[in-house]
Amino acid sequence: MKSIYTWSAILAIVFASVIGDVLLARAMKQVGDVGALWRRAGLGIVIGRTLGNPNFLFGVTAMAVAFFSLLFALSWGDVSLVAPAAASLTFIGNAVAAKIFLHERVDQRRWIAAGLVAAGVALLAG
């Protein structure tokens, strides 16, 4: 029963992290090139545009949900399972979500990279 709770919390972490990353990436694409905007309009405008972007706010909220899900997961399962499982599944989930929602060109090179990094993180964090 405890493992169901743990895996539910891990899936919640992955789901919330992926949503958060996609929303933050979309927000920054809407804000535009930060370096160019900073030179043109100043740091205040960069910060204002970023913090005022609804996608950014929802993204940060999703990240907060992921963090609290992590706390729940750690209270139910071992860190040696939760950390690698959540981290590696997040990499794969992000590649899928970026292709679907951000329309990024996730070619073979990027799929291989996501797989290698997910496996590497699982080994390092485990």
Binding site: A98, R110, G120
Partner: protein
């Protein structure tokens, strides 16, 4: 740094939440929070320049750095499985770094309004032309980027 600071501060009880304020005043915790903010700012900046599927694998080099610091600075034992993990991450980052960092969408260089048509009319291949086209698109309401 956060871990070091929190160990100095001691455990925080739910009944004495003012302990959190003392924890933030601890120099190690304060520096740790500042570094986390710096990470977030640079991560956001990178996302404004490159695709999520390019930035995310690249940030995983942090895991590799952590393991190397643990091995060569803290002189901790790093098992062969972890060395394999380091090799896989490094290989993955190398794979993604060899490709383009930003997806060029089909409509990316098409003029969406007058401003864009004017600013992006010089050679589309130039970095400045792309930059101006992107800025103009971001200013145009209702345009999906």
């Amino acid at each position: 740094m956060l871990s070091h600071g929190m160990k100095q501060t001691g455990s925080i009880s739910l009944n004495h939440l003012q302990g959190v304020i003392y924890a933030v005043l601890n120099p190690w915790v304060a520096i740790g929070i500042l570094l986390l903010l710096a990470f977030f700012a640079t991560y956001m900046t990178a996302l404004s320049w490159a695709d999520l599927t390019y930035v995310l694998p690249a940030t995983s080099l942090g895991y590799v750095m952590l393991a190397l610091v643990a091995r060569f600075v803290l002189h901790e034992h790093v098992s062969p499985l972890r060395w394999l993990g380091i090799a896989l991450i490094t290989g993955g980052v190398g794979f993604v770094a060899g490709g383009p960092e930003l997806t060029k969408h089909p409509h990316a260089n098409e003029p969406t309004n007058k401003t864009c048509a004017v600013t992006a009319s010089p050679p589309f291949g130039s970095a400045q032309g792309k930059l101006l086209a992107k800025d103009a698109r971001n200013g145009a309401p209702g345009v999906e980027v």
